[in-house]
């Protein structure tokens, strides 16, 4: 078993000397109990593999929700330095810009009352999730190009979906520069064209919640989160378009990795120097897919507002505002220590501290909002980025609770129908077309989100602002 050295209360390290091919240490934010869970799969070995990438700076890092992935572990992040440092599509993942958007309504859970069930059912009716559901928004080729370049701002111009305020309160304004639709393959475009405005399946969802606890009142006020307010959390990504972009570029880079003189411990880490043509093409395609994902969440939010209008009225829909939207699978060029680095976040969330100029002006004093979804039936958390993230984790924090059990394992422990009854008994209205899919996402299949969040707070990466409890969930 790999020995970890404890560096401080929340940080553990495998030194670079542990393997001859490691260029930097591998470090994980955790406590002893989370480490025990982390050791049960291959995630630490995968983190060590990340530490072998050419041009990797500082350390290969992992958040406390780390679990085994392919190439990078999920919950992993690494920064590389151009021009010879590499970009690796596996360091972003197949679901490019999988992320989370939080909406806050102006009504409380008490005021919602017994209209909750009707609202959840209306959201399920309007937001396509699961098998065979068609796109909420259909785009032709030219329109798709505009969305790939411009993200939700383009969707607002084209179809009146979303608001300027939504765009302003989205990470990177919902748009990565340099998006190039010409680097997105026809197959990727075909896979994405029928999926805009759809949630997907697996651990993606639309969740109705209430603000159960405010833990940092000034921050919560900045974010517009009132006690007992009804909120809606949307978890989705770039759908088939992003999946295909990653597939295309893993294939292309894998075919060229030897030509760059790179040896890798795992083919899924296929990469190329940032200066190489295939890397520039990947960054263009990845940015396009990221913009598509932000547009996807904008389209889903539009459907949620329509549901609110139908059930609660026009004023309720108009006063439903977007708190923020964060990506947790993306690679971005960001400045650290006077250098521009390519920060790969695969299951990690940007968490910029107070004063950072990329944060919307109304949040700049509080710090960037971060959303950590719990597993189904458990709490989610709103955090605020802290200065420690810039010093310790390339401006990053965790993204969720992290799986700790396989889907089969979860299905063996609980039947979907029984889980549905348990959730309903806990006051959570469930709309999910598949009992099998429901069982696979059972709360016990995930790490304890409260433990994960506590670690990132103790590590100084982010601070808890509010706890959100689920009152309804829509899944594919």
């Amino acid at each position: 078993m790999t020995e970890l050295r404890q560096l401080d209360e929340t940080l553990w390290e495998i030194p670079a000397s542990d393997r001859p091919d490691m260029r930097v240490p591998a470090r994980v934010f955790a406590d002893p109990e989370l480490l025990d869970a982390i050791r049960t799969d291959r995630s630490l070995e995968q983190l060590q593999n990340v530490a072998t990438l050419p041009g990797v700076i500082g350390a290969a890092l992992a958040m406390p929700d780390i679990h085994q992935g392919y190439g990078f572990p999920v919950g992993g992040l690494a920064a590389t330095e151009p021009p010879d440092g590499v970009v690796s599509p596996g360091g972003v993942g197949y679901d490019i810009n999988c992320g989370v958007r939080l909406l806050a309504t102006a009504i409380t859970a008490d005021e919602l009352g017994d209209r909750k069930e009707t609202l959840v059912h209306e959201i399920a009716r309007l937001v396509p999730a699961g098998a065979g559901r068609e796109a909420a928004v259909k785009l032709n080729g030219t329109e798709l190009d505009r969305v790939l370049r411009g993200g939700p701002a383009a969707l607002l111009e084209l179809r009146g979906i979303g608001t300027d305020d939504d765009v302003e309160h989205t990470e990177s304004g919902g748009r990565l520069d340099g998006a190039d639709p010409d680097t997105v393959s026809p197959r990727a475009r075909q896979r994405g064209s029928g999926q805009l405005g759809t949630v997907g399946s697996g651990n993606h969802f639309v969740e109705l919640q209430r603000v159960a606890r405010v833990l940092d009142e000034p921050c919560a006020q900045s974010y517009g989160l009132e006690p007992d307010a009804v909120t809606v959390l949307i978890h989705s990504g770039s759908r088939g378009l992003g999946h295909q972009v990653c597939t295309d570029y893993v294939k292309r880079m894998d075919a060229n990795v030897a030509r760059h003189g790179i040896e890798l411990p795992d083919r899924q880490l296929a990469c190329a120097p940032l200066s190489a043509p295939e890397s520039q093409d990947y960054l263009g395609a990845m940015a396009a897919a990221a913009n598509f994902a932000w547009a996807n969440r904008a389209a889903i939010a539009h459907s949620v507002r329509k549901a609110i209008r139908t059930v609660l009225g026009t004023e309720a829909a108009a006063s439903t505002r977007q708190v923020y939207d964060v990506a947790h699978n993306v690679a971005k060029l960001e400045p650290y220590g006077g250098r521009e680095l390519c920060v790969h976040r695969k299951g990690a969330t940007r968490a910029f501290p107070p004063g950072h100029d990329e944060i919307p002006p109304d949040y700049r004093e509080a710090g960037q909002p971060v959303f950590i979804p719990g597993s189904m039936g458990t709490s989610s958390f709103v955090l605020a980025g802290r200065q420690g993230s810039m010093q310790r984790s390339f401006g990053s924090t965790c993204h969720g609770a992290g799986r700790r059990m396989s889907r089969t394992g979860a299905r063996k422990r609980v039947q979907g129908a029984e889980l549905r009854r348990q959730l309903e008994a806990d006051g959570i209205t469930v709309r999910c077309s598949s009992n099998r899919g429901l069982a696979e996402e059972a709360p016990f299949a995930y790490k304890d989100v409260e433990s994960v969040v506590e670690i990132v707070e103790r590590a100084g990466l982010a601070r808890r602002v509010a706890q959100l409890r689920p009152i309804g969930v829509v899944k594919g």
């Binding site: 799969d41 679990h67 085994q68 992935g69 392919y70 190439g71 999920v74 197949y94 679901d95 699961g130 098998a131 065979g132 197959r187 075909q190 896979r191 999926q195 997907g200 399946s201 697996g202 759908r239 088939g240 999946h243 295909q244 990653c246 597939t247 893993v250 894998d254 075919a255 795992d266 083919r267 899924q268 296929a270 799986r403 700790r404 059990m405 396989s406 889907r407 089969t408 394992g409 077309s433 598949s434 099998r436 899919g437 594919g476």
Partner: protein
């Protein structure tokens, strides 16, 4: 013969056959079985559908991944569940095939076929392979 091994976030497919060609047939059977388990009734159609599938790769293991990738794409884009191979030509590191199956209402289950721990090898006169799918 095939076997699915589940990990925390992925599906590992282990294949065995008497020949390399057999591995491709087993891979189709495995994916067809997986999709059939998940298929819904809405829009299902038992009548046979044929698809032509072509792929090429730098080596046979990657060709196997590409084969599965093409079949997964047909599942997502056309609701196609593969039942059997009617014609399979594997030459060098390329293949051309006619696949028979049926339509069903399918979740978008397979995001991608990865290169993680991808392998194909001959052991004790049995061909074996391992492919990991992101689901």
């Amino acid at each position: 013969m095939y076997r699915w091994v589940e990990h925390t976030g992925e599906l590992e497919l282990e294949l065995e056959a008497r020949s390399e060609r057999g591995l491709f047939q087993e891979a189709l059977a495995a994916l067809g079985g997986l999709l059939s388990e998940r298929a819904g009734d809405e829009g299902a159609d038992a009548s046979s559908v044929l698809h032509q599938v072509s792929a090429s790769a730098p080596d046979r293991a990657t060709l196997l991944a590409e084969w599965l990738s093409e079949l997964a794409y047909l599942a997502e884009s056309a609701g196609f569940v593969p039942d059997r191979v009617e014609r399979l030509e594997v030459s060098g590191n390329a293949l051309d095939a006619t696949v028979v199956g049926h339509r069903a209402s399918l979740p978008h289950l397979v995001k991608a076929v990865t290169y993680h721990r991808l392998g194909m090898w001959d052991e004790d006169e049995t061909w074996r392979a391992r492919v990991i799918l992101d689901v």
